[in-house]
């Protein structure tokens, strides 16, 4: 029961946040929408016993990523409101059409498709220890050790690259 209520609430939160991202004229409001979505999704993770992921989600996304976003928004001037005149003709119509198509497709799948989200599921009850740090760490440092190391590489690239990109060139404005 509690899960259902929370799910409904958080799903609404996530959706409202998502729509805010897209619809808000001011990027700051978009960022806040994203924040809302991130939080709601984090709660949904908790509901699904993924506590660690939920915490990391908030720390990394909300704590670092979105803060960076805000920083850049502030840095490059928030006062510039976006030009809502569509420069590409048909772009909006195209997006609308695409959206409609997806909705239709989804509707058709739900109604006619005899559709199953997780066809491979074995209907076992998930273990309560699934979300614990120990369980995840066990996997992360054995089976996924290569991926783990590769993420280190990725972060190195990101750091080095960001420095290279943002580096001020002398003699240029």
């Amino acid at each position: 029961m509690a899960e259902t209520i929370l799910f409904v609430l958080m799903a609404m939160g996530a959706l409202v946040g998502a729509v805010t991202i897209v619809a808000a004229r001011n990027p700051v409001y978009s960022a806040m929408g994203l924040l809302g979505t991130l939080f709601s999704v984090a709660v949904l993770y908790v509901l699904q016993l993924a506590h660690l992921v939920a915490a990391v989600q908030v720390i990394v996304y909300a704590g670092a990523v979105l803060t960076l976003f805000l920083f850049v928004i502030m840095l490059i001037g928030v006062d510039k409101s976006e030009d809502w005149d569509e420069k590409l003709p048909y772009q909006r119509a195209f997006v609308g059409g695409l959206g409609g198509l997806i909705v239709l497709f989804a509707g058709a799948l739900t109604v006619f498709g005899n559709f199953d989200w997780v066809p491979a599921a074995t209907n076992t009850i998930p273990e309560a220890t699934n979300g614990t740090i120990q369980a995840i760490a066990e996997l992360l440092f054995t089976d996924w050790v290569l991926a783990f190391e590769a993420t280190a590489l990725l972060l190195t690239i990101a750091a080095a690259g960001a420095i290279g990109l943002a580096h001020h060139r002398t003699g240029q404005t």
Binding site: E3, L15, S30, T37, Q48, D83, L98, T151, G161, A162
Partner: protein
């Protein structure tokens, strides 16, 4: 009472679609970028929900990888956006039109 994984994944799908459409619709590089983050979030939600339904931890571990990727993308992406801004003082993709055929 347990909510079926399908609901979570449907929510994720909705988020993903909103993100994708937003990316196509908006012209502000930052907002577009946020839409990408939204999409990655939808991915994470899908992975976790599927992982729970399958009683498989790999889904959760995969989320960590996606998270790190998202973080790295943000670092680079924002660096690029800032670099562009330094030249143009705009974050609108529409105004980036030096490249034309």
């Amino acid at each position: 009472m347990i909510v079926a994984a399908g609901w979570y994944m449907a929510l994720a799908a909705a988020l993903f679609v909103i993100g994708a459409l937003g990316l196509l619709l908006r012209r502000n590089a930052l907002v577009m970028f946020m839409c990408i983050e939204l999409m990655l979030n939808a991915v994470n939600l899908t992975l976790i929900s599927a992982g729970r339904a399958l009683n498989d931890l790999n889904g959760q571990v995969a989320v960590f990888v996606v998270l790190v990727v998202a973080a790295a993308e943000v670092v680079v992406g924002l660096a690029i956006i800032v670099a562009v801004f330094r030249r143009r003082a705009t974050a609108s993709v529409d105004e980036l039109s030096e490249l034309r055929g």
